[in-house]
Amino acid sequence: MALSPENPLSAEPEIETSHAEEFVEQLRCVADTLPSRINIDAQSVEQGLAKLVLTLIEFIRRLLEKQAVRRMEGGDLSPEQIEELGLALMRLEAKLQELKSQFGLEDEDLNLDLGPIGRLI
């Protein structure tokens, strides 16, 4: 039964879109990020722990980068300090990429879904 002002309590759901395939693809991507079941074995525990730790490091790294850029824009760093800070952050990023590769993780793996708040990164 369709909803209408005359029959406001009827509630057959409808789905309306002109881009069904596109939405199916996107929603499938979201579903694919959720584990179908939790495997507790040594390898998955190690990788899960690495993912969590590297996500937090990545989050802090990005905060540091933003802070460095703000300070550079603010003009309170000398050219030598900018170079030194840039080099330190560059090496940190390179090291993180190396660790990601060791644990078989991609860029998009380093994130946490915080539900209604959104994602950490």
Binding site: A11, P13, F23, E84
Partner: protein
Amino acid sequence: MKLYAYCLAEDLDTLDHSQPGIAGAPVRLLKIDNLAVLISDTTIDAVPVTKENALAHAAVVRSILDQTTPLPFRFGTLVTERQLGSYVSARKPALKKKLAHVRGCVEMSVKIIWDAPDGIRTTNAELSGTGTDFLTAKRREILGDEQRAKQATEISDWLRERVSGLTRDEQAILRPSERLLLSAAHLVERANIERYRTQLVEARQNRPELHFLISGPWPPYSFANIELEFSSQFGVS
């Protein structure tokens, strides 16, 4: 014997349908302190997460949507009758408040896909250049991200404005870095559903660059009992 709990509702004295529940189990109505809880008796310790079970749970919750607006329990909620009674009695004021919030309403869902502006990412060459080049590249990257977040927020605000006056509440998840930009749930009074749909049809025509998926009416899953779930899980009331 355990109970599988589907949802909680007010103003419901009888079930005028025979919608089967999880694994085909019969659904019955349990009255606790003038509130109705839809349950199935079960002997299982955990409910397998399958498409059939998820659809069965949703079908039971939706089966009373014509009569009242229920507060759905999280999928897989297994309790004893004593636990359920204690839960409802201890949290009755909060449950009543939540039921009053969703009374007469349903959930409508809007999802938006956009062609996100390409983010500028630091290249490998910049990762091996000088520190100054690296920070300059990062500055470009951050400015690009900020611009994209600003555009995303504008779209979210625009949608909220289009349906303002027709919604009682909103839950929105905005992801500027992804193609599925916005997932919004609106709590809409039943009498306003047609006007809400009309508003969205007009809105879609104004923004052909955005792709919309509009669905509903659904039970108010996004407005149900998050804090109650947390209270239950962590034993804090």
